[in-house]
Symmetry: C2
Subunit: 223 residues, 2 copies
C-alpha cells in the first residue's frame, strides 16, 4: 500500500505545481502581488493579516482568500474591515492547493487588485507541500507554540521567505528562548527575513511593514 | 483528479481501520490501555503528558510512542523521566496512522505495560481521520490558540472522548472566552469530558487525573 500511495501523491504534486504556475501567470497578467500566509492553528494569522491590512490599505487595492476546513469566520473578519474576501472551505483537507485557489480566483476582480492576501489552513505540515502560485510565502510562528518548532517542522521553515514571530507580548509569561528559535530558523533557511511582532499591541510592525512594502513595491515597479 | 484522489483516500482509510482494530486486539491481549493525545503544534502535548506520567507513575507500568515529522525531541523528554519511548518520524506525513503504530509496537514489551501513551503529530486536522486502535482519544487545546477553534476544526472535536484546555495560567493575558469555547465543544460533542488545566503550574490536574485514573482502572478491572 505504501508505495502506491506515495506515487499517487507525487502525481498530485506535479499537477499542483503546474496549476500553481498558471495561477502566478494570471497574477502577473493583472500585476497582482500574491502573499500566502501560513501558520499553526491559533498562531494569529487573521489578527496579523488584519493589522497588516490597516497599514497597507491606503497604498494598495487589496482582496483576500481564506482557507479553512470549516466556517467563514476568517473571511467575515476580513470583509468586516472592507477587504473583499473569498472563503475556501476545504471540507477536511489540511491545506489549500493550487486547484482550490484557481477555483476561487474568478470570484475576484484581479485587474482591480494590487495585493492579494491568501490565508492558508491552520497547519504546520501540509501547506508546505502545496505551492499556490503566490509571490511571497510567509510563516507566522507564535511564542506560545514553543521555541522548538523550527526543529520539529523543518519543511515549513525551509520553504518560506519570511518568518514573523507573533505574540511577543507574551514573552514575559513563557519560557521561550528567542535565540534558540532563531538559530533553528537560520540553520534551515539562512538569511531568512525574521521579524518579532505582536498583532495585539502592534509592537514590531514598523520594521515588518517596511520590508513587506518594499517587496510589493519592487514587484509593482513603484520602488 | 479530485474524484480519483478521494477514492484512494477512502481505500487507505478502510485499510487503516482494519489495522487499528488489530492494534486494539493486541493491546487487549496484553491488557494494555492505550491513550492517543492529539493537539496543535505547541498546545503543550509533551508537557501535559510528562505531568500526567508523574501522577500515574507509581500506579501503572507505562511506555510511550511519539509521532513527529522530524526529530526525537519528544521521545527523549519521555525517556528522560524513565518512560521507555519509541519515536515514529513520519517523514512529512501530518498524522500517525495504524500502520505506523503497528510497526512501532514490536519494540515495546506490551505484556509489561499497563498504560501506553501515544503522542500524535502536532496537527488539528489529519489525526482526526486516522484511528490508531487506542482506547481513549484526548484532545489538548490551549488558551493561546483562541476560543474559536472548536468551530473551525469540528472533526477533531467530534472524534475525541475528552478535551483538556491547557495553559489556563495565560487566561489573564489573553482574550479567551471559556464559555464560548466550551459551547462550541458541547455542540459538537455533547457530554464530552472537559478539564481546564495548566501543565506549567499543575492547576486543574487533580480533577483530570481522577477522571483518567478511573478510565484506566475500569479497563484494568481495578476500579
Amino acid at each position: 500500500m505504501g508505495t502506491r500511495t506515495i506515487s499517487v501523491v507525487e502525481n498530485i504534486l506535479d499537477a499542483n505545481d503546474r496549476i500553481a504556475q498558471a495561477n502566478q501567470e494570471l497574477f502577473d497578467s493583472t500585476k497582482t502581488f500574491a502573499i500566502n500566509f501560513m501558520a499553526s492553528p491559533g498562531a494569529g494569522k487573521t489578527s496579523v493579516i488584519l493589522r497588516t491590512v490597516q497599514y497597507l490599505n491606503s497604498r494598495y487595492r487589496m482582496a483576500g482568500v481564506d482557507g479553512d476546513v470549516a466556517t467563514t469566520i476568517d473571511a467575515d473578519r476580513m470583509a468586516a474591515i472592507g477587504i473583499p474576501a473569498v472563503q475556501i472551505n476545504t471540507g477536511g483537507t489540511c491545506h489549500l492547493d493550487a486547484v482550490m485557489l484557481s477555483g476561487a480566483l474568478p470570484k475576484i476582480e484581479l485587474s482591480e487588485v494590487d495585493l492579494l492576501i491568501i490565508e492558508n489552513v491552520g497547519n504546520l505540515i501540509c501547506p508546505a507541500s502545496f505551492k499556490l502560485g503566490s509571490h511571497l510565502d510567509v510563516l507566522i510562528a507564535s511564542v506560545p507554540e514553543g521555541d522548538d518548532k523550527p526543529y520539529k517542522y523543518p519543511k515549513m521553515y525551509r520553504g518560506v521567505k519570511a518568518t514573523l514571530l507573533n505574540k511577543i507580548d507574551l514573552l514575559p509569561y513563557l519560557d521561550f528562548d528567542v535565540e534558540y528559535f532563531r538559530k533553528g530558523v537560520e540553520v534551515l533557511n539562512p538569511g531568512l527575513a525574521f521579524f518579532q511582532i505582536s498583532a495585539k499591541t502592534g509592537d514590531g510592525f514598523e520594521a515588518y511593514i517596511d520590508w513587506l512594502r518594499n517587496q510589493i513595491d519592487v514587484y509593482l515597479e513603484r520602488a
